[in-house]
Amino acid sequence: MRGRYTPLLILLGLVVGIQLATAVTGTAYFLTQLTMTAYYTLVVVGLCILMGYAGQISLGHAGFFAIGGYTSAYLTTLNLASGTHPSAVALLMRCGLIVPGHNLYGAELARLHPGVAFLAAVALTAGIAVIIVIPVLRLKGHYLAMATLGFGLIVYRVVLGTAGLGAADGLSDVPAFTLGAGITVTGGAGFRVVNYYVAWCLVSLGALLVLNLMQSRAGRALAAIHGNEAAAQAMGIDTAAYKLRLFVFSAILAAAAGALLTHYTGGIGPSEAGVMKSVRYVAIVAVGGMANLWGTIVASAILNFLSLRGYFGIYDDAVFGGILVFMMLFAPQGLMARETFAGLIAWVRRKGGE
C-alpha cells in the first residue's frame, strides 16, 4: 500500500509548480492550453484502463467526447423563452433549472442550467455506450476496432450533416458553467488560473478513482481478465459485465471531458468527433503504455500541450500517426515501461560490445 498515492502527490506538486512558474515568468497564457490538455488527459485516462485492463481497443472515444460536448452545447444554447410551453418553462425556472438572461440585442433568453445539461450529456453518453457495447463486446480484435471506428464515423457524419448541430460550423456561444464558490468553467482571462486548477483537479480525481478501482474487487477481476480472459471466466468472473462497465466508465469520462471543455472554450466543432482525434487518444496511450496510468498522463500532458501550442505545425496528424507506428514496432509496452528500458539497455550494450 505504501507509495500508492505518491505519484498522485507528485502530479499535484507539478501542477502547482507549473502554475507558479508561469506566474513568475509571465507566461500565464500557457495555462489556457494546459487546461485544454487536462480535459484531453481525462479522456486518455479512461482509454488507458480500457485498453490496458480489458484489452479492448476503442477507435470511437472522440465520438463519446463529441456526444458529451455537443449535448451540453446544444442544451445550454437552446432558447426556451420563445418555446411553445411557457408554463413548463416557468415551472423549471422556479426550480432553478433554467437561467434567464438577455442576448446581445436585449431579447429575452431562457437557457437550461449547465449543470442539468452536463448530467443529461453524461447520461446520454452512458446510454449510447451501453447500446453500442453490448453487441460489440462479444467481438475481439479487428472486429471491435472496426466497430468502434464505425461508431466514431457515424457520430462525425451525423454531427456534420445535422443543421440543428451547426453542421460544419459547430455550436458556439456556449455559456459559462458556474460550479459555485466563485468557480466558473469559462474561457475568460480572469478565470484562467481557477480553470487550470479545476481541470487538473479533475484529472487527479479521475486518476484517484482509477487507482482505487484497481485495488478493489472489480480491479482484481479486471487484472485477471487482462492476464487471461478464459482463465478469469473459469474462476467465475463475469468478464462481459466487467468489460461493459469499464467501457461505459471510460465513455463517461470522455463525455464529461467533452462537456467541460466545451464550456471552457465556448464552443465545439465537428473536428472534435473526427476519427483522427480518436486515433490521437490511442497514440497517446501507446506512448504512455497500456494500463500504465502515470505514463499515459505524462505522455498526454506533453503531446497534447505541444500539439495545442502548434509546435507540430502542418505535420500534427502525421506526428501522431508516426508515433503510433514507431511505438508499436519498437516499444509496444510504452515509453515508460520497464521492458522498454531493459530492451534499450540491452541494445546499447550490444552496440557498445561490437
Binding site: H142, A147, G150, I154, A318, P332
Partner: protein
C-alpha cells in the same frame, strides 16, 4: 417510385458496390495470407487514383493507370518489408494499431503531395454528359468500365487462386504456413505477393472509379470501413461472397439515399456494419458452425 428510377438507383448502387467489393477482396487477400486486417486498404484506392491523375500530363490514360497500379503495388510490398516482415508473433492489438498508423501516414503524405484539392481522371470513353440508355435509365459509359474491370478482376483472381501454381501456394500458406514452408513454399514471399496483389487491385479500382466519384487525400477511411463491412457481410476471407455482399451494400446505400438526406449516406452503411457485427459476425453466407471455429 417509377421502374426507370428504380433501375437508375439499382445501377448506381451496383457501380459503387462493385468498388466496395474490390476493397473487401483486398482485405481478404491480406487477411488470408497473414491474419492481419489492413486498415490502410482504403488508402491504396486513394493512392491509385491520385498517382494516375499525376501521371496524366505525361502519358496516355492507359499507361497512367498501369503506372498507378505498379507504383501502388510496390508501396504495398514496401509496407510488408518495412513493417510486418520482422515482427515476431505480434498481438492483434499491435497489428491493428500499426496498420492504422500506416494509413494515417499515407494520408498525411498524400495531403502534403496533392493538397486538399479534389481530383479526378478524365472519363475513359466519352465525357461527363455522354450516356447510354439501359431499361429506361441513363448511365454513364464509365459505369460499364467499372463493372467490366471489376468483373474481370474478380474472375481473374478466382482463376489465379484456383489454377496457377502461385495461387495455390498462397492458399496453402493461408491454410497452414508451417506445412506450406515444409513443402518448400516460400511463405514470406507469398505474403509479400499478397500485399502486392491487394494494393494493385485497390489501385486499379481507385483508377476506374476516379472519374465518377473523384479522389481526395482523405477518401480512404470511409472506403476502408465500407469495404470491411462488405468483407464481414460475405464472411471474412471469402472473396466470392464479398463480391455479392458488395453489390448488396451498394444497392442498399443507393436506395437509402433516395429516402434519406445524402449527408447520412455513410451512416447507413456503417450502421449496417454494427448490426451485422451484433447479429451475425460470421457473415451472411457462412454457416454458424463454421463461424464458431474462427477467432473473432
Amino acid at each position: 417510385m417509377t421502374s426507370e428510377l428504380l433501375v437508375q438507383y439499382l445501377l448506381s448502387g451496383i457501380t459503387i458496390g462493385s468498388v466496395y467489393a474490390i476493397v473487401a477482396i483486398g482485405f481478404n487477400i491480406i487477411y488470408n495470407a497473414t491474419g492481419i486486417i489492413n486498415f490502410a486498404q482504403g488508402e491504396f484506392v486513394m493512392l491509385g487514383g491520385m498517382i494516375a491523375v499525376s501521371c496524366m500530363p505525361f502519358m496516355p490514360l492507359c499507361l497512367a493507370v498501369s503506372c498507378a497500379v505498379v507504383v501502388t503495388a510496390l508501396i504495398g510490398v514496401l509496407l510488408y518489408v518495412c513493417f510486418f516482415r520482422w515482427l515476431k508473433s505480434p498481438s492483434v492489438l499491435r497489428l491493428i494499431i500499426i496498420t492504422i498508423g500506416i494509413s494515417i501516414l499515407i494520408r498525411e503524405a498524400a495531403l502534403m503531395i496533392w493538397g486538399e484539392q479534389v481530383r479526378s481522371l478524365p472519363y475513359f470513353s466519352g465525357n461527363e454528359i455522354s450516356s447510354i440508355r439501359i431499361f429506361g435509365a441513363y448511365i454513364s459509359p464509365q459505369v460499364l468500365w467499372i463493372l467490366g474491370v471489376v468483373g474481370i478482376m474478380v474472375l481473374l483472381l478466382n482463376l489465379f487462386f484456383a489454377f496457377t501454381r502461385m495461387g495455390r501456394a498462397m492458399r496453402a500458406c493461408s491454410a497452414n504456413p508451417t506445412a506450406a514452408t515444409l513443402c518448400g513454399i516460400n511463405s514470406q514471399g507469398m505474403v509479400a505477393i499478397a500485399f502486392m496483389l491487394s494494393a494493385a487491385i485497390g489501385a486499379l479500382a481507385g483508377c476506374v472509379m476516379s472519374p465518377m466519384t473523384q479522389t481526395q487525400y482523405d477518401s480512404g477511411t470511409p472506403l476502408a470501413v465500407k469495404g470491411f463491412t462488405v468483407a464481414i457481410l460475405g464472411g471474412l476471407g471469402n472473396s466470392t461472397a464479398a463480391a455479392a455482399a458488395g453489390l448488396l451494400l451498394g444497392v442498399v446505400e443507393a436506395l437509402a439515399v433516395s429516402i434519406l438526406p445524402v449527408a447520412y449516406k455513410d451512416v447507413i452503411a456503417i450502421g449496417l456494419l454494427l448490426v451485422v457485427l451484433a447479429i451475425r459476425p460470421t457473415g451472411l453466407f457462412t454457416s454458424r458452425q463454421a463461424g464458431t471455429l474462427k477467432e473473432f
